[in-house]
Symmetry: C2
Subunit: 216 residues, 2 copies
């Protein structure tokens, strides 16, 4: 398989999300034009992105929603369950533990860590809170996880990331504003809400809708 660019993967995830909606709505076929409109992309881009992986469309017919969705999930590795470990059970952390979309898409929290000793040992959303110092012990048991979700304060982020890496975890979803310094073989994805606000600012300023609006 060719190496695909970073941004194409984000687009594939977006296509998969909208295909899942279509599938849940009972839609069996979708044209590249309609899928493009739903995703805020253009049809040529969609055809190009999907061409990285093979031939999914039928000329004059469109894409078979379920086939394309399954193929995308397989390519992206989202046709399985991924276990998440939360670091930082503050307001954001608690909100993340309660997000139904995670479980619906196969992302399950199996562990949560906090520095607050009053929190350690208590349960939030059915997950027992551990001390982040204990990560190596926790991941030997049912608290084992694949991806760390970093929602600590900025001051603890780098320290926590090092502990995650030392425990052998190779993927971090980073909600903190810190640029984490980690070894090359550790994957870090940074979440930044302000980037999404920019699409709204642009739309309000120019009157041209560039948002990723869901289908109605």
């Amino acid at each position: 398989m060719h190496k695909i660019p970073n941004i194409a993967v984000i687009r594939l995830a977006l296509y998969a999300k909208h295909l899942e909606m279509l599938h849940n709505d009972g839609v069996e076929l979708v044209s590249s034009v309609k899928l493009a409109k739903m995703c805020g992309a253009n049809p040529a881009q969609i055809r190009k992105d999907l061409a990285y992986f093979g031939q999914f469309g039928v000329r004059g017919v469109g894409y078979y929603v379920n086939d394309l969705l399954n193929a995308l999930k397989e390519v992206m590795g989202t046709n399985r369950t991924w276990r998440l470990g939360l670091f930082g059970v503050g307001n954001l952390g608690k909100a993340l533990l309660g997000f139904e979309q995670f479980a619906q898409r196969g992302f399950i929290f199996t562990a949560a860590f906090d520095k607050d000793i009053d929190l350690v040992g208590t349960e939030v959303q059915g997950i027992e809170i551990s001390q982040s110092e204990d990560i190596k012990e926790v991941i030997k048991g049912p608290g084992c996880f694949d991806i760390a979700v970093l929602a600590t304060g900025a001051d603890r982020a780098q320290d926590c990331a090092m502990r995650i890496v030392e425990a052998g975890i190779h993927a971090i979803l980073n909600f903190t504003p810190i640029r984490l310094v980690v070894p090359e073989n550790v994957f870090v994805e940074n979440v930044d809400f302000t980037v999404r606000l920019h699409a709204l600012c642009y739309s309000l300023t120019t009157g041209s809708d560039v948002t990723q609006r869901h289908p109605r």
Copy 2:
């Protein structure tokens, strides 16, 4: 100005974010190759995206960081302050009110709303909580805002969106999983954390790093 595609605006926001980091680090010049690497894009894509707006690069030299940043901010409408109104002061809402990145990038909360009458009248992060029924009154005063940030429960999202629209607000950053039904002239940007998790799943599955890692 040409209409630029939705996804290009998200990329522009990403370029602006990394240019801001370079600027804060005192870097004056950046090559399209280096900027591309930082953003996880490719240099040809960056040159194409920036070509929508004019000529920013100097052949053989690169881009002047500050000039390009200011031009992007002007194009995107982020060279000014935008006021935010929060709907739903639960765990996520409280976390959003406390996010320093918002204020650092010119996004200031001026109002917050919740259905919980025990919360109404109290202050969170210096913002007084109002009832969402009172939105029309609130936006006549210092609580006036440009963009609604929707962080209510899923069951209240559509109802709340209608109230926002009726009050004359035309932009919604939607953290709920609901596909909002709003008039054509209202801009909605949906935030979905699971899409970012997919880049990590792909990287873990294939061993190929497609994350938007920050520069080290």
